[in-house]
Symmetry: C2
């Protein structure tokens, strides 16, 4: 497929701001027609999200986490996940976040896919996993300033609620899309 008419090239980056979790830069890019324009891009570590499923007599349940989100200033009911730490693999990060946030461990973590949380303005990736055959651990392992409730919600309720509060995190919806369409998931 011929795509050269769509491709931009990068000419220069200027860092504007850096915090512990992200940095912001101006990037001068040249269009397919040869004109330059400056775009703001945010760099951040990669993220991981896990869809953890339990089979019960009432059917399938997801492990969800409820927490306050500082950007939106509201509570959000989401799949567990977080930032991948330097040096750890995506899968190790998925297992670690699942354990820390939910106090569960999956016998198997299946990779559902990798996507860009926001390819227009962010350079990082988010890696999605499905976890099944879950066993419980002694407890959550949260940072001192993390306040996260774990809840077991029926798959039916999550599907019905997606797209309005408290199911407001778009990456949780993205994880759900990969769960619903993956040939690797046995949806029972």
């Amino acid at each position: 497929m011929e795509t050269s008419h769509l491709i931009w090239t990068e000419e220069k980056r200027t860092e504007l701001y850096r915090s512990g979790v992200l940095s912001v830069r101006d990037t001068v890019c040249r269009s397919p027609k040869g004109k330059t324009r400056t775009f703001t891009v945010i760099d951040s570590s990669d993220w991981v999200i896990v869809v953890p499923a339990l089979q019960t007599e009432q059917g399938r349940q997801f492990l969800m986490v409820r927490q306050w989100r500082h950007g939106s200033r509201e509570l959000s009911l989401e799949f567990p996940g977080g930032v991948i730490e330097p040096g750890e693999s995506d899968e190790a990060g998925a297992a670690r976040e699942l354990a820390e946030e939910t106090a569960y461990k999956a016998e198997r973590l299946i990779k559902l896919g990798s996507m860009r949380p926001n390819p227009a303005i962010m350079s990082n990736q988010v890696h999605f996993y499905y976890g099944e055959n879950l066993t419980s651990l002694p407890g959550q392992n949260l940072d001192e300033d993390e306040f996260v409730d774990v809840e077991r919600i029926s798959e039916e309720e999550v599907l019905a609620g997606m797209g309005r509060p408290p199911y407001v995190h778009a990456l949780t919806a993205a994880a759900l899309a990969l769960y619903l369409t993956s040939p690797q998931v046995n949806r029972g």
Copy 2:
């Protein structure tokens, strides 16, 4: 449901950086335990994404757009969408972006839901619409520096491809989740 043990309050904002499309601020917040911590938050306008479906003899097809994304520095095959302009409603923004990017108009735009693209670090919302009974317009209406190809892809191919290149935009996967789970969509 008792949730006060999860809620943070905001004490102070300091703007750090502003561009045409986004601004970055430090925000001092107080935890449920009374300790303060500073979080970086990005403010931006709301966004809109449309899932436009055509019925053909070969089955359902989606209108997708292929474009270069500056954050990820790669091509991305996505549902059409964009930034809502000051003063326009979400639905008007959806109709406008659909027309500008794909040169199609929907007889009906059905609201699928509203979510947060990134509630941890961004304050904006993204509004999702489904469009059917599409009719074509004379042509795209792109800005001088927008290079967007329109493609008709079978629903089957989009579902199978989600989660790897070129289906890498997480908000396109989020839109797909709402499309797949919405009681308002006749999936034929």
